[in-house]
């Protein structure tokens, strides 16, 4: 699981409707996998992320990001900064770990890079 995916997930247990994002990462095992740098993709994709949540989550895996996404997310965004983001967003994979809902404490496991978001019948 990449951090982009994590940035889109929220707890969806029944009656858990507020403060259910972002899910808190713990006990993570991380692996880096090189992938082609695509600046145009990043520039277009970045504004779709919930930046504050990303900053918070990155800290949970010991990565520090600027607290505010630089305004110039279009053509003139610094290439070095984009390369850093590429490494964090596209090359960093969470292989094992857990995601805990900040509201209801429901834990979603990540195993072999795959989050399991299934709820049991009473939770759904």
């Amino acid at each position: 699981m990449r951090l982009i995916t994590h940035n889109m997930l929220q707890c969806h247990a029944k009656n858990c409707n507020s403060n259910n994002f972002p899910l808190q990462l713990s006990q993570v095992e991380i692996v880096n996998q090189e992938t082609e740098f695509n600046p145009m993709f990043l520039r277009n994709m970045l504004p779709k992320l919930e930046w504050n949540a990303l900053v918070k989550t990155a800290l949970q895996i010991n990565v520090t990001l600027p607290t505010v996404l630089p305004e110039s997310t279009t053509d003139d965004l610094d290439e070095e900064f984009l390369k850093t983001l590429h490494g964090i967003l596209l090359e960093t994979h969470i292989l094992q770990g857990a995601m805990t809902c900040p509201n209801c404490n429901r834990v979603y496991p990540i195993k072999d890079g795959i989050p399991n978001m299934l709820l049991n019948e009473t939770e759904a």
Partner: protein, 243 residues
Amino acid sequence: MSSSKRPMPTQAFASTNTSSLNPTIKEQQYVHDVYEKIAQHFSSTRYKPWPVVEEFLKELEIGSIGVDVGCGNGKYLGVNRNVYIIGADRSSSLIEISASRGFETLICDALNLPYRDECFVSIFDFVISIAVIHHFTTLERRIAATKELFRIAKPGSKVLIYVWAMEQIESRRKFDEHYQDVFVPWVIPADKNEKEEEIVYDRYYHLFKKGELDDIVANIDLAQIIKSDYNKDNWYVIATKRQ
């Protein structure tokens, strides 16, 4: 979805003694459990993207973010490398196959997608669901699953849905139009399994009649149909979510 090479008779679902089962149990037994068992063989027969789906994905803007709800073995996840697509499926066996190919995946239920939408607006630029909605055993659940696709789609985004058609013109299959709820056998040949004898699994399908998928989509808040057509034994709809 097409099945094995050999023509097989299809049974009407309602005529079996399963009508008393609740929908969750039916789907567990005749959809989820079956895909867990046939995953390997099923995946080996699923590699060629359907052209309409391929075109839909290739036309997306670079940097788009989306979900393939019911991605199976991940056949569509690598079609356009300029978009970010998360494959979601109920079957952990199929998701493991997708993930082993390097695709971004997760396990979840189509009736309860785990994506943010309320505190923050929906984010997905596109959502596809290919050959999935026909596995739900009641109209209410088919509507609920379709609603979920539009819930996670952001305003202005595109949604593509494929479901199996009752009217299978190009196919050798001929369905009795009186029975929309049927079992479609999946046959694993003797040389493709450890028992070395042919194994047949019954999968539940609701066969969509012309206009049925359109009716479901048209009644969803903010959904607007752009195109609806017949292709490869399926009905499909491309819709947008209004602003």
